[in-house]
């Protein structure tokens, strides 16, 4: 049975996948995170609410008025339920704020991945602001996003399954165990960083989601290391993991330095004072935790 509303919803989602080709790097209206594709998707509303046979879209067997009525009532109930759930869900998980972190395009992802593996040539690490809110990641390469961490996490689990499979240690439960293990370490790391930021009383605009994003960038290095280990053996694993650890370390320091340290210290001038020193130690500790986790989560995969 075709519910008119739901097919419209699905069509809008298909169009959303195509929109990535649309205006890259053109901040015509940067407050609009995604391109507006609602032109084609809204035509399917509730036509013929139980008015009689023959109104239902092209189904020959719905000629019975009772089932027409039931069909219309069911679809109105579904849309009402979906509205209510959206409204309530927004109270717990800030969906609109999450959307900002997924406003990426292919150019951004490519450049960011390159930056994660080779951050030495990039010199301007500041995030561009636009009237007090950061610009969407699509227009600024230094902005944190959640797309790479989420995809990196999933790819890490798949690559871990692949690596275990080549050693005949694979079973479907292993994937679940790896996933929950990595997730737990991520949560622990984010909580530890939050606690230390609270204790050192840093006035920063780093949100929790930002910290999740920065902690998730290390999955890229882990994946590169494990794949190199699969292709070239232990020596390849160690070399590429070393390279990725150093790059992630430098990347994390350069990104967090601007957010945690005060203005003067971030520009490289030596500012004396216990407060700045403490913040520098904090940044270095956060950055040093990344290689430790990278090694801890991958060494058992490459034998």
């Amino acid at each position: 049975m075709e519910y008119p509303n739901q097919s419209g919803f699905r069509q809008r989602k298909l169009q959303a996948g195509v929109r990535m080709r649309g205006t890259p790097g053109d901040p015509r209206d940067p407050s609009l995170l995604f391109d507006d594709t609602s032109a084609g998707g809204d035509k399917h509303d509730l036509s013929g609410v139980g008015k009689g046979p023959g109104v239902c879209p092209g189904q020959a067997l719905i000629s019975d008025p009772m089932s027409n009525l039931a069909l219309a009532y069911g679809s109105s109930l579904a849309s009402h339920g979906r509205e209510m759930m959206d409204k309530n869900l927004d109270r717990f998980i800030p969906i609109s704020k999450l959307k900002y972190y997924f406003a990426v395009d292919t150019v951004y992802v490519g450049k960011k991945l390159g930056l994660l593996v080779f951050p030495y040539m990039h010199d301007n690490w500041e995030v561009i602001y636009q009237q007090d809110t950061p610009v969407a990641p699509r227009f600024d390469i230094n902005a944190p996003d959640l797309y790479i961490p989420v995809m990196g996490f999933i790819t890490y689990i798949l690559v871990a399954g692949l690596a275990l499979g080549t050693q005949n240690r694979f079973s479907p439960e292993i994937l679940g165990i790896q996933a929950s293990s990595a997730l737990v370490w991520l949560i622990i790391e984010v909580l530890a960083v939050l606690l230390s930021l609270y204790l050192v009383t840093v006035n920063t605009d780093l949100t929790t989601i930002d910290l999740v994003a920065f902690s998730g960038y290390k999955y890229v290095g882990m994946i590169v290391g494990v794949i190199a280990g699969l292709l070239f053996g232990r020596m390849g694993y160690h070399l590429s993991l070393l390279w990725c650890c150093v790059s992630t370390f430098v990347f994390t320091i350069r990104t967090l330095r601007l957010k945690i340290l005060s203005e003067a210290a971030a520009e490289g001038r030596l500012v004396r004072g216990a407060k700045n020193q403490l913040r520098m130690y904090l940044t270095m500790a956060i950055a040093a935790a990344q290689p430790v986790f990278m090694y801890w989560l991958t060494f058992h995969l490459v034998r």
Partner: protein, 82 residues
């Protein structure tokens, strides 16, 4: 290495219990971590010790009642399912 989410929840409950159990006058004041030591001057910024004492006091205040409920649920579940 096989960390599950359930292990994380258990760790969180145990840690919160540990913080909530620190008694104000019998223990913390004796080692110089009482409530009055955390109210420093209104100078620059509270140091780490003041923030930590604040954190302990607020955990104790906020989590006291929820911890009773969570611990009771935990005990019942452990009795039933081992």
């Amino acid at each position: 290495m096989a960390f599950t989410l359930y292990a994380l929840i258990q760790t969180a409950i145990l840690l919160t219990n540990a913080i909530a159990v620190l008694h104000e006058e019998r223990f913390l004041s004796k080692i110089g971590w009482g409530a009055e030591q955390s109210i420093g001057g209104f100078g620059d910024e509270p140091g780490i010790k003041a923030q930590l004492l604040n954190l302990i006091r607020s955990v104790r205040t906020v989590m006291r009642v929820p911890l009773i409920a969570v611990n009771a649920v935990c005990i019942v579940l452990l009795l039933l399912f081992g």
